[in-house]
Amino acid sequence: MDILNIIDEIGKIDGEIYERLNPRRKAMRNFFDIGKKLSMAALPVALTGMFQKAYGQTTVNTTVVSALNLALALEYLEFNLYNNALTATPTLIPAAAVPIITTIRAHEQAHINLLIATITQLGGVPQAPMPYTAFNYTTISTNVTTNYSTFLRTAMSIEDFGVRAYKGQLANLVSNQSVLAAAAQIHSVEARHSAQLRKMIYDLQIANLINLRPWLSDRATDAGVVDPTNYNDSAIGALSTVYYQDNATLLNAENKVTQAGILLTGINGFTNITANASAQSFDEYLLTATVKTVANALYINKPYQLT
C-alpha cells in the first residue's frame, strides 16, 4: 500500500491534509506511538484512527466500541475455557488434541489483543479483563474440567454462540470499514473453531451425538433418522430455547429455510434441498440484547455480567 499516494489523493480534495496530519498534532503523535507497538498488520487500523482524528471526529463512536467490547467479553469467555484446560487441568485433554486446543487458544488471545488495541485506538475504553472465575462453564455439565467430551461440547457451544454473536455485531461496524473487515476475519475463524470442535466430538462417537456435523444441523438420532422439528444438534437441552433455536417464528431461528424471502426447500426443483439442507446452508445471527441475556444466563457470573 502506498500511503503517501493516498494522502496525496486526499490532498486534491482537502488542501489542508498535511496540516491535519501534522506530527505536532496529537492525532499524528498517537499514530506514530502506536505504530511502534503494533504489528504491521494492525497498522492500517491505527492509520484509520489517525485519519478519523485528523478529520476532527472527537467523539468516540460508541456503536463501534460497544460492539467490539461485546466481542471482547466473548473472547475472554472462550480464551479462559481453553487456557484453564491447558494450564490447570493438563490431563483433561488427550495429547493428540493439545496442539488443536493450543491453536484455538492462541487465536482467542490474538483476538483479545487486537480488540483491546483497536478499542483503545478508537478512543474507547476496553472491557476490563475477565478472569477464569468470571465465567460459569458448567452449563453443559459440572464435570467440564474432568470430562473431555463435556469440555468439547462446552467449547463447541461457546464457539457457535460466538459465531452468531459476531454476525450480529457486523452491522454495527459499518461506519469503520477496516474494523468491519477485521471483525469479519475473526468471525470466520470462530466458525472454523466450531467446525473443528464438532469434528472432534463426532470422532468420539458419543451417544446422542453420533451424527453431529461440522455445521449446524437438524438433530439426527444415532441411527441416522433426522428430526426436522429439532434443530438443536448439540443435544444440550438448556440451549434449545436460547441459541440452537427451534422456533420457526423467530426471524433468526437457526432452522429457518427462507432467506431474503426466498424459500430454499426444494428450490428450483432441487428436491434434495430438504428443510435440513436449507437450514444448514445459512448460519444465523444473534443481536446484542439476546447475546447479553444468553451470556449472562448461561456463562457469566454475577459481578461480571454484561449490562
Binding site: 459499518v174 470466520s188 470462530e190 466458525a191 461440522p214 428450490i267 432441487f270 430438504t274
Partner: protein, 239 residues
C-alpha cells in the same frame, strides 16, 4: 447508518438506487486495510435507478449487484465441483467423507440457487466449468481441490463483506461465509490432520496469524486463481 434489526427481509427490489447508500469520506479512509489500492481508490460513481438487466456475463462492482454476481460465480463453481464429486465418489473416500461431502454439495446448490433467484435478471447466466485438471477418482486430489475452493471462498466472502454498500448484503454474506468456513475447516483436516485453521498457511490468502484473522482477498486477487476452471468469459468492471 442506523440499524436496530437488520434481518434480511428486504426484497431484491432493494437494488433500486434509492436504497443504495453512499459511503462518505470517513468510511473511505478505512478502506485500504485489506483492499489495497483497487477498491480504496474507487471514486464515487453514479448509480443507476433503472432495474438492472445483466447481459449474462458481466460482474459490475459499481454497487452490491456486483458483489452478489461475484459470489454467484463462486457458488456456481463450488456447486459444479461437488456435483462432479458426488456423481462418483473416489473409492478411497470413507463413509464419513462421502456423507459430509454430500452435505456440502447440498449447501452449495442451495447457495447457488438462492443467488440465482435473488438476482433474477440482474444475474449472470449459468457458467461452464473446466475441472479437467482434477483427478476425480483420487481422494487426495478431490480433497485438495475442495480445500482450495473452500479457502478461496472464505477469502472471497471476507474480502467483499466490508465493501458491501447495504447492511442487507452484509447480512447475507456473513450468513454464508461461516458455513463456507466450516466446510474449509473440516476439509483442511481431511488433507492434513489438525489443519483446520492454519492461519500461517493461509497468509497467502490474506490471513494474519498474529492477529487471529482469517483469509480475505479482493476480487481482483481471487478471480485469477479461479480462471483456469471457468470456461465462460466474464466481464469484470468497476472493480
Amino acid at each position: 447508518m442506523e440499524i436496530s434489526n437488520y434481518e434480511a427481509v428486504e426484497s431484491r427490489t432493494s437494488f433500486s438506487a434509492g436504497k443504495l447508500q453512499r459511503r462518505h469520506f470517513l468510511k473511505f479512509t478505512g478502506a485500504f486495510v485489506l483492499t489495497t489500492g483497487v477498491l480504496s481508490c474507487k471514486k464515487d460513481k453514479s448509480l443507476s435507478s433503472k432495474p438492472q438487466i445483466n447481459d449474462g456475463s458481466t460482474i459490475d462492482f459499481k454497487d452490491d449487484t456486483g458483489i452478489f454476481n461475484y459470489i454467484y460465480v463462486l457458488e456456481q463453481l463450488e456447486a459444479a465441483f461437488y456435483a462432479k464429486v458426488s456423481a462418483a465418489y473416489p473409492s478411497a473416500f470413507t463413509a464419513t467423507q462421502t456423507s459430509f461431502f454430500n452435505d456440502i454439495s447440498l449447501h452449495e446448490i442451495a447457495h447457488r440457487e438462492f443467488l440465482k433467484n435473488f438476482l433474477v435478471e440482474a444475474g449472470i447466466g449459468n457458467l461452464d466449468f473446466d475441472f479437467s485438471s482434477i483427478d476425480f477418482t483420487n481422494a487426495t486430489a478431490v480433497l485438495t481441490a475442495a480445500k482450495t475452493f473452500e479457502d478461496l471462498g472464505v477469502a472471497a466472502y471476507n474480502g467483499v463483506l466490508a465493501i458491501a454498500q447495504q447492511s442487507f448484503t452484509l447480512t447475507i454474506l456473513s450468513q454464508i461465509v461461516s458455513v463456507e468456513a466450516r466446510h474449509a475447516a473440516w476439509v483442511r483436516g481431511q488433507v492434513i490432520t489438525n489443519d483446520f485453521a492454519d492461519l500461517n498457511a493461509l497468509s497467502a490468502l490474506g490471513a494474519v496469524d498474529a492477529n487471529g484473522l482469517d483469509a480475505a482477498l479482493t476480487p481482483d486477487k481471487v478471480l485469477p486463481q479461479l480462471s483456469k476452471y471457468i470456461k465462460t468469459p466474464l466481464k469484470v468492471i468497476n472493480l
